[in-house]
Amino acid sequence: MALRCMDLYKSFGQVQALAGLWIEFQPGVTAIVGPNGAGKTTLLNVLTGFLKPDRGRCLVGARDITGLSPDRIARMGIARTFQDLRLITQVSVLENVLLAMPPERGERLFWALFGGGRAASEDRAREEARNLLRSVGVEQKASSLAGEISYGQQKLLSLACCIASCASIVLLDEPVAGLDVVVASQVMNILRRLGSDGKVTVFIEHDISAVRCVADVVVVMDEGRIVAQGRPEEVLTRPEIAEVYLA
């Protein structure tokens, strides 16, 4: 299922963050690169409902998601991470993953009060969450508070949360920024896996080597527009792109 943006505009006062942006994200891994202020994070915020566009539409398949609330968009199968790493730091790593899983019956007040003992579905969910943590390499920290694990492990946890949501579209804001080589390579492997599972995986990144390594498609943004799009080896070698982005 593709994610499309049609003629998106978004401004903050005099600053035009998105200026008539058209793009279609297909299953596989797409990297968005561009200088600071190019509108990359604004695009993610518009796509996930945290910002409303001034004009234009966002579609998942044929379904218009423009202006829907973030929780509705998330329930439609769009997961995301944030640049400033949002996790529930005062609960356990496992509980963070459980919170990211698709909503269950016990999350309604009535069932919480009258639903009998701990449901079998809750035990299943815990088992699934442990498996997920194992697959991203932080299973040994399952009982630790999310605020007490290392930055790299927190990044892996935020990816585990995206996977746990069973979303078909995953939007990641700088997933390898600030990571050492080992954890960065773990993150890149997870991105590849998401792409090969047929998910629309879009990530914003400044680390060009990570982009070359993982992305099937690279999109270059500047001043709220797409200035280039294509395979990384084609796009990133163009002199005009190097001038805009690597200057």
Binding site: A74, A79, Q90, A100, E107, L109
Partner: protein
């Protein structure tokens, strides 16, 4: 024995209040300054029904619960749109409105004179006028409110509340409708506080607006913070400390007029010390100073 029974009954009523506020403030992170208003609404509901001949305890509890829940939904619908300090101010304003209504709707509430002559509660036709019967009623309700608190805290619903307390954006981005959780937990807390009011009215046999002021709401919030926000036992311990310490001051031989003032001073100092030395409260885990 009578005096100890009186203290135990007050502790029981405050356990109900503290556990209900624990749901709202401790688990969901909504620092409500209107809990005493719902407490008062429950107390007046029971009092007005009782003086008109309906003193059946289960009926009064149901009426208080339903009215508390409905008003909780209404107030929550207006106030949960704003967050943090703004939410506290909005709920503070609601408490002021309720006290003002209680003072001014004299033909219904008796105004500043309150409602006196509340008869003893009846349970399925049997009058519960003795201290022992009142203790049984209060602690049955306290146990039920603790059970409710426990069920919610241990459920997936409680997990979403804890997530929301710390980071609403994260919870929203995981597809949870934050407004549903805020509204339902606020209304549930309000309804249980109203039931505590029902117990208070039947025990004291007199209600007036001074018992449900903003000061009382702040006091309730302070006992939950002292006990420990987000902790099951925090509400119980906070309520016990909040009732027993002022009672203990009686034995210092101070004039009665000074005991009330001393209570305010002690809670003020206790709150400051608690925020400095143990922000998570006596038995709490959650700190208010989240960075």
């Amino acid at each position: 024995m009578t005096y100890a029974g009186h203290v135990l009954i007050l502790v029981g009523i405050y356990v109900v209040l503290a556990s209900s506020l624990q749901l709202v403030a401790g688990y969901a992170g909504l620092l409500s300054v209107s809990h005493a208003a719902f407490y008062g609404i429950g107390a007046y509901t029971a009092a007005l029904l009782a003086v008109r001949g309906v003193s059946e305890f289960p009926a009064s509890v149901c009426a208080s619960y339903v009215l508390g829940y409905v008003l909780g939904i209404g107030v929550g619908w207006l106030t949960v749109r704003v967050r943090d300090d703004y939410f506290a101010i909005a709920t503070f304003a609601f408490n002021l409105v309720v006290v003002s209504v209680l003072n001014n709707c004299v033909w219904v509430t008796g105004g500043p004179m309150g409602v006196a002559g509340i008869p003893a509660p009846r349970v399925f036709g049997v009058e519960a006028s003795s201290l022992g019967a009142m203790l049984a009623l209060v602690y049955s309700v306290a146990l039920l409110s603790l059970l409710l608190c426990y069920r919610i805290a241990r459920s997936p619903y409680g997990r979403v509340l804890r997530g929301m307390r710390e980071d609403e954006v994260f919870v929203l981005s995981q597809g949870r409708n934050v407004r549903y959780y805020k509204l339902t937990v606020f209304a549930t807390g309000a309804a249980v506080a109203a039931v505590a009011g029902c117990l208070y009215a039947f025990y004291v046999k007199f209600v007036d607006p001074t018992s449900f002021s903003v000061g009382e709401s702040v006091f309730l919030l302070s006992i939950v913070i002292i006990g420990g926000l987000g902790s099951f036992w925090g509400g119980v311990i906070g309520a016990t400390v909040g009732v027993v310490v002022p009672e203990a001051l009686r034995f210092l031989g101070l004039p009665v007029a000074q005991v009330g003032n001393l209570r305010e001073i002690i809670y003020g100092i206790a709150l400051i010390l608690m925020m400095l030395a143990r922000p998570q409260g006596l038995v709490g885990r959650f700190r208010l100073d989240v960075e």
